[in-house]
């Protein structure tokens, strides 16, 4: 079974994962291509709008305002959706959300459930939960389908199969879909996916989607996509289940006029994505007969409670920061071992997962160059938040050897007597390690640090010792 729930998998520190990733030439070539292509498109379509910076200001402000009004907006959204015939569920954590989805899907009599690409359902490990319950999740986004068939984790928020080239996808389809004659033409591969999924769409009983936003005052849920698989799922299924993080709600209908300009241009570099679906509850004679909206916390309120980190919840998942990141460029997404990779992942994951989450190495997987903040459509200060997260990691590691050594040093430096005794001790201990007045050989925990560094040795006589000797003479 695929390790979709990255958090439940064994955490791997970024430096060791990156070391393996940078030797994978194929992935690095593909990632470079993805970054260069999408970045160039994004720059071109953002430059088309002379009010782009004003849109970013509005985007940041309206996301902030929505977050600060969550207490009112969520019940309002619930009320609007319920009045339109939808059912709203609340889930404190991933487990609770998965239970709700499984229960609803079972009650709808489904064996197979169709899925629209959704990072939130990846985050909670929904596919694995469905499989455990004997239900078969079927990913309908082309790249997600590729990942599902290959039993691999997505490597990019926006183009999850970017680590695979056309020949690899052709071989995968030949093997898993039994299409012997298939060539590696992208058109033919997309056609194969269309044929493979069409029957499933037409018989769909239950479909599951995420949400890009929801408007509280109208009860409208919004899904943006390109292929039409999102429309198929949100329109043709008898029962539609949408899993949405509570931070995705916005206050007003006209907030969409900002987000629907910022998101496609920042994400795929299109003026508008091919399809945007907007719906409220259920509509007699048009679309699903039952609609369930699952409002998910799973760490969002933890981020909300940290006033410095709170702006991370503005994120609209466009992945512009990932496409700008020089570190991601070298390692690709798999090295992060998280659902949300790249700069945004490094600040979002520690917040969502909390203290039991991934190793504290992610906030350090950045040169703090700031390219991510320059492109963020909702102006999240990603470098600032990386430093904030680093601070939390360092504070939490004060219990370890490093913390103990620093506390000891503090005591030594606090008293002249202790300091001078330490000097005399160091002079004796350093002897085997000193060459030409420098300490060049380190052992124990310092070995790694010292492999490319040296320190001036403690001198045979300090100034104070010389002064004392002079008096005696």
């Amino acid at each position: 079974m695929r390790e979709l729930a990255a958090r439940s998998a064994r955490p791997v520190a970024f430096p060791s994962a990156a070391e393996a990733a940078v030797t994978d030439e194929q992935t690095r070539t593909n990632v470079r291509l993805a970054q260069d292509t999408i970045r160039a498109r994004r720059v071109a379509v953002a430059a088309e709008l002379d009010d782009w910076e004003a849109l970013r200001d509005a985007g940041a402000a309206l996301r902030d305002r929505s977050l600060s009004r969550l207490r009112d907006l969520l019940p309002l959204l619930e009320d609007r959706v319920t009045r339109s015939g939808g059912v709203v569920h609340w889930a404190r954590d991933a487990e609770e959300a998965n239970e709700i989805v499984v229960r609803v899907a079972r009650a709808a009599g489904a064996r197979e459930v169709l899925k629209v690409k959704s990072l939130t359902t990846d985050e909670i490990g929904l596919n694995a939960a469905l499989e455990r319950a004997g239900l078969r999740p079927l990913e309908t986004d082309l790249a997600e389908l590729v990942c599902q068939l290959a039993d691999e984790r997505p490597s990019h928020l926006l183009v999850p199969a970017i680590h695979k080239n056309r020949t690899e996808i052709r071989d995968l389809f030949r093997e898993r879909l039994g299409l012997e004659e298939l060539t590696d033409e992208p058109r033919e591969l997309a056609e194969a996916a269309r044929a493979h999924l069409r029957a499933a769409f037409l018989r769909a009983k239950v479909a599951i989607s995420g949400a890009n936003a929801a408007v509280a005052e109208t009860g409208t849920v919004c899904v943006v996509e390109s292929e039409g698989n999102g429309r198929m799922c949100t329109t043709l299924a008898d029962t539609l289940i949408t899993v949405m993080g509570i931070e995705k709600v916005v206050a007003e209908w006209r907030d969409l006029e900002v987000l629907l300009q910022l998101l496609p241009r920042s994400a795929t570099g299109e003026r508008m994505n091919p399809y945007t679906s907007l719906w409220t509850g259920v509509r007699e004679g048009d679309g699903p007969r039952a609609f369930h909206l699952v409002l998910l916390d799973a760490g969002r309120t933890r981020a909300l409670a940290d006033p410095v980190a709170r702006p991370v919840l503005r994120c609209i998942r466009c992945s512009a920061c990932i496409n700008a990141c020089p570190v991601y460029r070298q390692t690709g997404g798999h090295a992060y071992h998280t659902v949300y990779a790249g700069p945004i992942g490094a600040i979002l994951e520690p917040q969502l997962a909390g203290p039991r989450g991934q190793p504290g190495s992610l906030p350090f997987a950045s040169s703090l160059c700031g390219a991510c903040a320059d492109v963020c459509p909702v102006r999240i200060d990603i470098p600032g938040l990386l430093v904030h997260e680093r601070g939390r990691v360092v504070r939490s590691e004060r219990q370890g050897l490093e913390g103990a050594s620093l506390r000891l040093l503090g005591r030594v430096f606090a008293s002249r007597e202790r300091y001078e005794r330490a000097q005399r001790l160091a002079r004796r201990l350093q002897r085997p390690a000193v060459r030409e007045g420098r300490v060049r050989w380190f052992v124990g925990p310092l070995a790694g640090w010292g492999s490319s560094r040296e320190l001036p040795a403690v001198p045979p006589q300090t100034f104070r010792e010389w002064w004392a000797d002079r008096d005696r003479a």
Binding site: N30, T37, L49, D51, D57, A58, A61, D64, S68, R69, L70, R71, L74, S84, H89, W90, R92, L142, V146, V159, P160, A161, P186, R187, L189, A190, R198, F201, L202, T218, S226, E227, G228, N229, R231, M232, L236, W253, R254, E257, V258, Q261, E270, R271, M272, N273, P274, Y275, T276, S277, L278, W279, T280, G281, R283, G285, D286, T301, L304, A305
Partner: protein, 209 residues
């Protein structure tokens, strides 16, 4: 404590002392182009994403030609589509709760739209007269959409303002910008995946009344 109470309690605690700031809306809301300018821009932008745009004084004939050219013999329409738009020489099937399989057996769908946006080359469907339900413009492989020149606005805010009443009334809305597409394989854009592979926009002056 229910999950709802617990989450709302956590939010209350987390936001103690937080205040809501106003949203600066200094971005462009109203466009500047005249009608011809809007229509010309709309046309370029739809074509940019692989849609076909035709201008027509006699929509019935133009639509018939479009369908004939693409080999579409059976097309689905909303039962309330204006008769002036019905093409001759093709079988017209009214979508009276057709099943997905029946929709799949159609060669195309012919609809009107609620509004269109020039800047992004977008057409908006809100289930109004002549537009049918969402599945009609989704399952068949060809979508022919009649757009009145007067319904073309310039900016995204203008488009969404046009749709606000429908959203408040709880009507489902779909925004369509070109045919379905994917760039998932080596970022090569392929037009036509699950949604209609071909989108034809027919620009008309006069209504469907």
């Amino acid at each position: 404590m229910t999950a709802r109470e617990e989450i709302l309690r956590r939010i209350n605690v987390a936001l103690a002392g937080a205040t809501a700031q106003p949203v600066p809306r200094a971005y462009r809301v109203a466009g500047e182009l005249d009608r011809d300018g809007r229509v010309a821009l709309f046309r370029r932008r739809v074509e940019d994403y692989g849609g076909v745009v035709l201008e027509s004084a006699a929509p019935g004939e133009t639509i018939a030609a479009v369908l004939a050219e693409r080999g579409a013999r059976r097309i689905g329409v909303s039962p309330d589509l204006d008769e002036a738009l019905l093409p001759v020489g093709v079988e017209v099937v009214a979508d009276d709760r057709l099943t997905p399989r029946q929709l799949d057996a159609l060669d195309g769908a012919l609809t009107t739209c609620a509004a269109a946006c020039a800047e992004t080359g977008t057409i908006a469907l809100d289930g109004g007269p002549g537009q049918g339900r969402r599945a009609l413009t989704l399952v068949p492989d060809l979508h022919v959409c009649v757009v009145r020149r007067d319904d073309v606005v310039e900016t995204v805010p203008e488009l969404l303002a046009r749709l606000e009443a429908s959203a408040r009334a709880g009507r489902p809305i779909v925004l369509v910008s070109g045919p379905s597409a994917t760039s998932d394989i080596e970022l090569t854009r392929v037009e036509g995946v699950h949604g209609p592979r071909r989108l034809v926009v027919v620009l008309v002056d006069r209504p469907p009344a």
